[in-house]
Symmetry: C3
Subunit: 137 residues, 3 copies
């Protein structure tokens, strides 16, 4: 954790750079200072088939689901949400110029009693020498 | 919101029309009159790799996840679920003829305090002139 | 139910066998004896775009989401989680040799009041003659 999943309609292939969106979302999450760098996983899921609103061919969406471990206050989670949503709006700004796009974000907490994890990146990233390579972020 | 995600096993490519399924699900959601047209986003996620039940090659599934904002009663949510499930069963009816298919639906509510959205379609669809183009739905 | 979804970064294509992972996870779920064989659906979702941790190109993840119906105790759910996570760790063991991989699992319960299902496999699998074909699992 945290996990940020980006579902998007495939008709955005030529209208949005989803790779860049993922990068910017990663930066936004890390910049909140609420999460450990090695734990942040952003990914996008392309949805070839979709049917949106009044079903015009140009209708499109990006929907973000952010799942986090317990341990942050509601205020902190809201702050993370604001930062993520702002980053997404910035990257996707041109899409709002036409009345065929919707962006959304939901945050949900993971039950710590029903969660398992093993992360080989932490040891590397918690090492100060490697942290000097922060430019990778 | 609402968001309807359809996960399906890729071995349905030649046995089901997932594009039509999305269209029919969109119509079913809108016909409940519980949701604003511009907010409904149906999409399908194709799962290339899968392992189902007794792992026969023909085993297949369609799993629907419907996420909605707060504000509808349990009765209304159940009514929406019934309508969505009925539509899915109708489109996928031939798949039930052989004992290798499972269909499922879950509804889950989104926490309004941890939800953000921006929708460029509403302004267009709330305009009465455009609503006359309801045939797009 | 139960549903086990495997999200993974596409840069694992040459480093992990996701088909085998699905098979092994299916076996692990069934071996818990907590779930009916015909109900278990494991599938993987490939994420072409991703941005992970310090954003090195080799950073990768596998994230498991296990959704189950009500009716099992916390202890039983934990036992299922342990079994699933152990199976995933075994299949993906080589990935932990380099400090660029993270594995995670979350279990979440489905609200029985907002769940619908129809399964054509049960009739076949509940038939004792067919259960003799357990080698398919």
């Amino acid at each position: 954790m945290p996990h940020l999943s980006v579902e998007y309609s495939a008709n955005l292939d030529d209208r949005a750079d989803i790779g860049t969106l993922c990068e910017r979302l990663l930066k936004a999450v890390i910049a909140t200072d609420l999460f450990e760098v090695g734990a942040v996983r952003v990914r996008a899921i392309r949805c070839e088939h979709h049917a949106i609103a009044d079903h015009r061919a140009e209708n499109a969406f990006v929907d973000l689901s952010f799942r986090v471990g317990r341990g942050r206050s509601l205020t902190e989670k809201k702050r993370a949400g604001e930062a993520i949503f702002a980053a997404a709006q910035e990257v996707l700004a041109p899409l709002f110029d036409s009345p065929h796009f919707a962006l959304s974000l939901e945050i949900r907490e993971i039950d710590p009693e029903l969660s398992w994890k093993r992360n080989a990146m932490h040891a590397r990233l918690r090492n100060s020498e490697d942290q000097g390579k922060g430019q990778h972020v």
